[in-house]
Amino acid sequence: MSSDEDANDYFEYEDDGFEDDEMDQEAPVKKDYDVAYNVKTLSQVIDMQKKAIANIQTVLELDASTAAILLRHFGWNSEKLQEQFFNDPSKALTDAGLSPPSSPSAHTSPLLPPTASSSTPPRITRSSKRVATPATTRSRSAVSIQTSFECPVCCIEYPAASLSTKTLALGCGHRFCRDCWVEYVVGKIRTDGESAKIQCMENGCHRIVKGSLIDQLVDPDTSQRYRKLLNEAFVSDTATLRWCPHPGCENVIECSQAPPRMLNQIVPTVTCGCGNELCFGCGFAASHRPVLCKLVKLWQKKCADDSETANWLQANTKECIKCQSTIEKNGGCNHMTCKKCKWEFCWVCMGPWSEHGTAWYQCNRYDEKSGMDARDSQAKSRASLERYLHYFNRWANHELSAKLDADFYKNTEKKMEAMQQSGNLSWIEVQFAKQAVDTVIRARITLKWSYCMAFYLKRNNQTELFEDNQRDLERAVENLGYLLEQNPEPDSISKLRADITNQSAYVQKRHDILMDDTLKGYLERRWEFSVDI
């Protein structure tokens, strides 16, 4: 999977020309499986764009709006842009929705002749010839306009004298009145949420409306919204950036070590400046370590689709042993006929009805061989459902505990106050309890995901080691949880405190072992999954 091409792609991420910023705090790299990342504020993200634009402006000698449109077209990959631009500047420009460089129509030119008819607009020549013969283009735009102009959108007529103030055309020459431009651009920004890709109003014309023109056309409020949308597009177009998903946080995480192709061996959990964790790989708004992004997605989908249904099926149905249809018995006697395959059987013993004679309402044949075989095949089809429910119930249990975290903290705080009063301890001396709760909560999140992991692991020795670690952590957490629920008696406080502190350290240790071993296991290719990763 790591071909040379992939490796090149990977390193390209790092060279976007805006990664060194003195203001960033480099997060310390702790483990092999951790990723290095920076937390950027919104203004730093804006600076990144400005820096990249300024760089292209200087190198390619273009104005800022043009440089920005080019960068957006090339997904903010400066190197690729420069390569393509030096190779064939007019192609790079026209591809991005701009005019070739030496043409005067590269700038908004109010003096181009009006388009005669909206149905047959003059098309821009998409070839390099236009660069080679700038004289023809110049002479075309130099024609002075004597006639009046009717805007093809609103059908209002403008006298020749007002053309330069009341109407305008982009480099493509498609002229419309200013009012229609304003309405169109405002609609695109406010209703459609478009920013970097607002095109000329002419049908089929891909000319991009430059940011500098948009600022001239729209009100300050819309302009601000436009800028905001541009920032959003910048972050989503840049592979090394991701918005913090937590409500109210405007930070952006920059990470060059977690491109999509690496996500089958790392789980790039990062901590945002707002204090919350997220996964850089998939944007999950919490840590889902030690499980790979792809498995998390599969698991969530499976749970959304199956859990409720599976629970109900488990409790209320049986499968027809002939065609495996799921059958619900909603009343009546035990003589069942499968609607699908017409197989007749007994609901109680699952054996063929033919052996039951006339015993319609009771079954005393539960131990007959045919009935046992039928139940056997039924058991097999249930096994996979039960296996899923085994892991799901444990996963859901920890998910539920997490929802009660707030109560857990509140109760612990009460106990801490009680200990301060009855045990004559200082505020600082009772903090051990809160730290222990922190430890329990973190460990439970890891345990929760460990059941998703286990569900997808193939059965082998490595998996057994994983489940040993999982079991050890589960037990340690249970013990610590039990200690935290004890009511501190005045004479036993010091012992309880020592027990909790010790157990807490032990949980931390078991937690680190499970996490370290699992995440290193990816790098060492120790895990085998029942699905493709």
Binding site: S118, S119, P121, P152, V153, C154, C155, I156, F176, C180, E183, Y184, G187, M201, E202, N203, G204, C205
Partner: protein, 155 residues
């Protein structure tokens, strides 16, 4: 009275239709006001799967026209039925990119008709879009409220 942009534009379009006429196979059935127009559309020639059929296309213009595209649906009543086409739902809703992301304010009522006519003309097999029943069950009255994904450029 100052005319709204949409009325001024529609009046001009109407005048153009009156003076220049409509292309073959397209006929203006009703344009009593500047809100709702109905065109009759048929595909000419022998090569079409819709030979001999006529459909009624309803265009509903809002004040934002022509910056914003109109609501365009095929009539479905006692007299007219929507065509059996992979981009036309049985409730008359149409999935076409010009009636969405690729709308341009220079397009006209007539150019919409021409596009729809050519969409019908290029159809080789009469069938409903996949997922028609599911869509029709939950579809909003206004097709503009549906988010379309344009996947198929062949018809």
């Amino acid at each position: 009275m100052v005319l709204s942009i949409s009325s001024r534009r529609l009046m001009k379009e109407l005048k153009e239709i009156e003076t220049k006429g409509t292309p073959p196979g397209i006929q203006l059935l009703k344009a009593d006001d500047m809100e709702t127009w109905i065109f009759l559309i048929s595909v000419l020639g022998d090569e079409t799967v819709y030979k001999g059929e006529t459909f009624a296309l309803k265009l509903k213009f809002e004040p934002g026209y022509p910056i914003d595209y109109p609501q365009v649906t095929f009539l479905s009543d006692d007299q007219y039925q929507p065509p059996l086409h992979p981009h036309v739902y049985s409730n008359g809703h149409i999935c076409a990119s010009i009636l969405g992301s690729e709308w341009s304010p220079v397009l006209t009522a007539l150019s919409i008709c021409i596009t729809i006519q050519s969409m019908l003309a290029s159809c080789k097999k009469k069938e409903r879009p996949p997922g028609n029943d599911r869509y029709v069950r939950s579809a909003p009255l206004n097709p503009k409220l549906t988010r379309w994904a344009y996947e198929d450029d062949t018809v």
